[in-house]
Amino acid sequence: MTRETLINSALALALLLVPLLAYAMDEPFIITLATKVAILALAGVGLNIALGLGGLVSLGHAAFFGIGGYAMGILASHAQSYTAITDWPVLIEGTKSMPVIWLVAVVASGITALLIGALSLRTSGVYFIMITLAFGQMLYYFAISWAAYGGEDGLSIYVRNSFPGLNTLDPIQFFAITFVLLLAALLFSARLARSPFGLALNAARQSPQRVETIGLSPYRLRLLAFVISGMITGLAGALFADLNRFVSPTMFSWQTSGEIMVFIILGGTARLFGPVAGAALFIILEHILGGLSEFWHIYLGLLLLLVVLFAKGGVIGTLAGREKAHD
C-alpha cells in the first residue's frame, strides 16, 4: 500500500466516523456538515476529471451543479403540488424518488456538458476558461428570470425526497446515501485514471501533439471527459439541493464554480482524494473562520495563495509526496 492510499483510506474513514460519532452524541448539525462535505467532494470528483486528468480549467461547472439542483427542484416541486410538468405531447409528472431525480440530473447535465463542451473545447487556455464561464453565467441569468420556478428566490421543497427502504429525513441515513455515492464516484474515478481512456486523456493534457501523432483526437477525449465530469457534478447538485431542500440561481453562479475549483486546488489537483480533503478543509474553515469574521473568504484566499505558491500538490500532495506512477 502506498503512502497516498493510506492517507486516502484514513480520510474516507474519518469522513465516515465523524458523523457516526456525532450520531452517537446526538449532534445532527455535525452530521449535516459531514453530508455537505461528501456532496461537495462529489462535485469536486466530477470537476477533477476535467481539471486534473484532462487539464481543462472549466470555470463553468456550476452549470452542471445548478442543472442537477434544478432537476431536483422542478421534479420535487411538481410532485409536492400535484401538478404535471407538462401534459403535451406526453404527460410528464414530478417525482419525489431520489433515484429517478438522480437519473434526470445526470442525463440533463450530461447533455448540457456535451453541448457546452463541443463548442468550448474548440478553444483552449484563457478562451476556454472564458467560454465555460460565459455558459455558466447564461444559465445563471436564465434561472433568475425563470419565474415559473421561483426566479431569483428559488424553489423550496418541504419534505426531503425519498429513497426505497431508507428514512431520508434522518440525517445519518441521508449522509449514508451521499457517502456511498461519493465512494462509488471515487472508485470510478480511480479506475478511469488507469484506463486506456485515462492514459490517453492524461497524455493529451501533457502533449496534445503526441496524442494526435499516434492517431487519436484530443478533442474527442476531452469532450468525453467533460461530459463525464459534468454528469458527476450534476449528481452532486441534485444531492446538494436535497440536503438544503432548496434550490436557487446561486447554484449556477460563477462563485460556485470558483469554490469547487478552489477546494480542489487546496486538496490537491489530479489527486484522487484531493476533492475530499479540499471539501473537508473548506467546510471546516467556513465554520471556524466564518464564525470569527464575515470576511473569511480573505483568509481562504490567503491559504489558496500559499498552496499555489508553496504546496502545488495541495493537502494530499504535501502529505503523500509526488504521485507514484502506476505499473
Binding site: 488507469r194 490517453a200 497524455a203 496524442v211 501523432t213 499516434i214 492517431g215 483526437s217 506512477a325
Partner: protein
C-alpha cells in the same frame, strides 16, 4: 529498390509562406519502399516546416501530400497516423509525467484505435502491453520501462520517440533529427537501428549529422531557403557543385 513502384509517401508542389518568408517553395519529393531518404539543409531552411505539412500539423498554401497513393492533404494529423504515418519530433513531445512504459502503451493504444475504454486497466491489457514492451525492447529501453519520462536522458527520450512510432507499425516513418544531441556512441547505435528499420518501413529523415546521413541514406534531398536544390544518391550529392557551395561548404 526500383523506380517503377508508386511512392509510399509523396509531396507534390508544396508551397508554404509565413508572411514574406517562403518556407516551402514548390517542393516535390517522394519516399519509396525500402529506402531511407535524408532531407538535409542549413538551419531555418524549412525542413521541420515541410515535415509538419507531411504529418498534418501545418496546412500547405498549395500542393498536395500523398500517402500510399491517397491524397491526405486535408486530413488531420490523427487520421494520417491511422493511415500509417509514424512520426518523431525534433523536440521530443512525450508525456513527461508518465513512465516510459505508459508512453509506449499510449502508442499501442493509438494503433489499436479504441481509446474509449473506461473500466479496464491500460497497463493490465496484455495485448497493449506486449506491443509496447516489444517496441521498448527494440530500441533498448526495456530496463527503463518504469522510469518517469522526465528522468530520461536526452538520448533515451529520442529512443522513446522512435519506440512510440514503432508501436504504430507505420507504413512510412518521418523523423525530424532523430540523432540530435545523441553524442557519438548514441548516434552510432541509432544509426545501426535505423539501418535495420528500413526493411520494415521506409524513412524520411531530417538530419544534421552528416556521418549518419552518408552511412544511411539511399537518397538525399538538399533544402535551402525553402527550395530543393538537389536530390540524388550520396555520391551524387557529395559531387554536386551547388550543394557544396550552398551547404557543405567549398572544402567539404
Amino acid at each position: 529498390m526500383t523506380d517503377l513502384q508508386t511512392p509510399i509517401l509523396e509531396t507534390r508542389n508544396i508551397c508554404k509562406s509565413f508572411d514574406a518568408l517562403k518556407a516551402s517553395q514548390d517542393i516535390s519529393l517522394d519516399l519509396r519502399a525500402g529506402e531511407i531518404h535524408a532531407l538535409i539543409g542549413p538551419n531555418g531552411a524549412g525542413k521541420s516546416t515541410l515535415i509538419a505539412q507531411i504529418a498534418g500539423g501545418l496546412k500547405p498554401d498549395s500542393g498536395s501530400v500523398h500517402l500510399n497513393g491517397r491524397d491526405v492533404t486535408t486530413l488531420p494529423t490523427a487520421k494520417r497516423a491511422r493511415l500509417g504515418l509514424g512520426r518523431t519530433f525534433q523536440v521530443s513531445a512525450l508525456a513527461m509525467e508518465d513512465t516510459v512504459l505508459q508512453n509506449a502503451v499510449l502508442g499501442a493504444l493509438g494503433a489499436q484505435g479504441r481509446p474509449f475504454h473506461l473500466f479496464q486497466s491500460a497497463l493490465g491489457n496484455a495485448s497493449l502491453r506486449q506491443v509496447a514492451e516489444q517496441a521498448l525492447e527494440r530500441v533498448g529501453l526495456q530496463d527503463h520501462a518504469r522510469t518517469r519520462t522526465a528522468e530520461l536522458s536526452h538520448g533515451q527520450r529520442r529512443q522513446l520517440e522512435v519506440a512510440v512510432a514503432l508501436t504504430l507499425q507505420p507504413k512510412a516513418f518521418v523523423m525530424d533529427e532523430p540523432m540530435a544531441g545523441l553524442g557519438a556512441s548514441g548516434s552510432k547505435a541509432l544509426t545501426g537501428f535505423l539501418d535495420s528499420l528500413r526493411e520494415q518501413a521506409p524513412i524520411l529523415m531530417v538530419e544534421h549529422d552528416m556521418d549518419a546521413v552518408f552511412a544511411l541514406a539511399d537518397r538525399i534531398s538538399v533544402l535551402v531557403y525553402g527550395q530543393i536544390i538537389a536530390t540524388g544518391s550520396v555520391a551524387e550529392i557529395r559531387a554536386h557543385p551547388e550543394v557544396r557551395r550552398a551547404y557543405l561548404g567549398e572544402d567539404a
